[in-house]
């Protein structure tokens, strides 16, 4: 075998291995075990990353800029009409900015998204349920039910489930893969 063929072979093998690992890392779902090569079919990340600068600036200045795909349309509509008491804070916006943000949230809400976790969140809700906290959704609860209180509520570096990025190291990018979880003071979480 000529040298260049050898090199080519090595490159090809490396590339395909890397590709496989990449798919498994990015798309591998934590503990869903939905049978077959679920991750192989997945083409979209957990939730769509935030792409709206106004939303990021207005909402992200006080808290993690939750991706719109983490709650359904009805939740966002309710949220944006009650900003004068936003979980105890005043977060009022001018009517124009409010509408701009609401339009973005609705267009990318969990029930309109084809991203993996968005679909699951939307699908886990009852028809008359309008959660204002992502942590109130059935899907969220199911995914976090094994985590002891000392890791979150009683962990001074976390304190609440509202701080996604405290443990999900790639939450900003819309990735909530279990293998990327690192709990402050505890370390990696694998169940």
């Amino acid at each position: 075998m000529k040298t260049y063929q050898k090199i080519l072979g090595v490159v090809a093998i490396t590339a395909s291995t890397t590709g496989l690992l990449y798919s498994a890392t990015v798309y591998g779902d934590d503990d869903d075990h939905e049978g077959g090569f679920g991750w192989f079919k997945q083409s979209k990340l957990d939730v769509a990353p935030v792409e709206n600068a106004v939303y990021r600036a207005e909402c992200g200045s006080c808290h993690f800029a939750y991706q719109p795909g983490l709650l359904p349309e009805k939740s966002w509509r309710k949220m944006m009409t009650g900003l004068e008491d936003h979980f105890g804070d005043n977060a009022e916006l001018s009517p124009e900015v409010n509408k701009n943000i609401l339009d973005y949230l609705v267009a990318n809400s969990a029930d309109k998204s084809d991203y993996k976790r968005s679909k699951k969140i939307a699908g886990s809700l009852k028809q008359d349920e309008v959660p204002l906290r992502i942590s109130d959704t059935v899907y969220f609860k199911r995914k976090h039910n094994e985590i002891p209180a000392r890791y979150v509520a009683d962990n001074k570096d976390v304190g609440s489930y509202s701080k996604c990025a405290a443990c999900h190291t790639r939450a900003e990018q819309g990735s909530y893969n279990e293998h990327e979880v690192k709990i402050p003071g505890v370390g990696r979480w694998e169940d």
């Binding site: 006080c62 804070d89 009022e92 701080k163």
Partner: protein
């Protein structure tokens, strides 16, 4: 006569000094507040109000501007609930501060309601602006 002249000179000096360090956004807002009948404004009054505590039924039970922004304008603060870092308020260390009238009014609205339980008056807002821009 001499007294009036001195007062005029001192006032003139103070006004120049004030506008020399004020950003266009601050100048514009101070004019709005003055037109509404407020003034003269005082940085000392702003500073006093900054750490004044106000009681609330919900946590944090005692609130002041410094709850989140600390009592040193050059320091970073922290959101009382989310713990998200709030960049320093002082324009000398954070050039983005006090550059946009809409932004300033938005935060006055939100934060006065959270802290005082009501909107701030034109007088209070002017005093705060002078204190923050120092």
């Amino acid at each position: 006569m001499m007294k009036i002249l001195t007062t005029l000179i001192v006032t003139g000096f103070l006004l120049t000094a004030q506008s020399a360090s004020a950003s266009p956004a601050v100048e514009a807002l101070l004019k709005v507040y003055s037109d509404a009948g407020a003034g003269p404004f005082s940085a000392e009054a702003g500073q006093r109000m900054w750490t004044e505590k106000h009681n609330h039924a919900e946590a944090p039970l005692e609130r002041s501007c410094s709850t989140c922004h600390t009592s040193n304008l050059a320091d970073s603060g922290k959101h009382a609930k989310t713990q998200k870092v709030i960049k320093p308020m002082a324009p000398v260390v954070n050039a983005k501060r006090l550059t946009d009238t809409k932004e300033i009014e938005k935060w006055f609205m939100r934060n006065c309601k959270w802290t005082f339980g009501r909107e701030c008056s034109a007088q209070e807002k002017g005093d705060f602006l002078l204190y923050i821009q120092k």
